[in-house]
Symmetry: C2
Subunit: 176 residues, 2 copies
């Protein structure tokens, strides 16, 4: 355990561009175009035609889905710098989709190899004892006594109650 | 999130009889008998003959090793009752051995099916925000501000600094 301030960072839509992958698979597999500019305030799957509405669950349950996600722009550089200054934990609600566990572990090993296994947490409810939490889901801030930073994602576009970072550059401005 | 008191319960050597499995594999694969009664104050692998000393790491890295562990005596009944009274989280330092992640998830589904995925945490350092923690490793109590309960395992036999439960019946006496 380090004496630095503990900082929890979420994976999907914060470190990893999950929405980009969804857009890609629906384009390829279903010839369906999901438009980012129509997504504000919605989950991406609300934009799917009715017949495909719950098909996204099949994808996230598939082995491999989370293995080749793109790293969010700027995340690689900023997390590296945060890691010098803070005790950085990667905290993902991966437990809902157990086939994602190994994918996510390997993805972190590829893109953030300096994050120790000791600092990776796969969970459901994020009951973590940290001082700062960067997350795109406000449900993870319920009961959290530290400083929550809402990382912008289309679905949280209209939420105004939290300190917000639109990009990793903005995270850097706040925390570095 | 519930309003009950949050209780974190460890897996290996607390819910699951990992040592029993080790004794079994060394007996079968290496014709080597590890004696429980010689284990007090030691890790089981300290009892292995020199040439086998670090071979245990191969086992815990193998898929399947954690899948068929026995449930510790009394754990099934007591955890079920604890689950009624507390907000029970299963917290395992599984991240050191990523091949154990799915095994452990499935093992919990088999033996403790009423524990929601939301209440499972696989991590390294146990920085969880709970009020009570039942664990056999005192390193997991460092920095923990709640009530730690040391669950007896041979390796922690001579530790006297913590409230101790020798069995699941003793846990029941304390918490139910």
């Amino acid at each position: 355990m380090e004496n630095k301030i503990r900082l929890a960072i979420d994976m999907d839509e914060v470190l990893a561009d999950t929405i980009d992958k969804f857009i890609e698979v629906y384009r390829q597999d279903h010839n369906t175009e999901i438009l980012l500019e129509e997504m504000n305030g919605k989950e991406f799957h609300e934009l799917l035609p009715g017949v495909l509405n719950s098909s996204w669950r099949n994808y996230v349950n598939q082995k491999g889905f989370f293995r080749d996600l793109k790293v969010m722009p700027g995340a690689a550089e900023v997390v590296k710098a945060l890691h010098e200054k803070y005790d950085v934990y990667i905290v993902s609600a991966a437990m809902e989709f157990p086939n994602s566990l190994v994918d996510k572990y390997e993805w972190l090993g590829e893109h953030f190899p300096y994050i120790s296994w000791k600092n990776i947490i796969f969970c459901g409810n994020k009951i973590v004892d940290v001082q700062i939490m960067i997350d795109d889901r406000i449900r993870n801030f319920v009961g959290f006594k530290g400083r929550p930073i809402l990382f912008s994602s289309p679905h949280n576009h209209f939420i105004t109650e939290y300190e917000r970072a639109n990009t990793w550059a903005e995270v850097a401005n706040k925390l570095l």
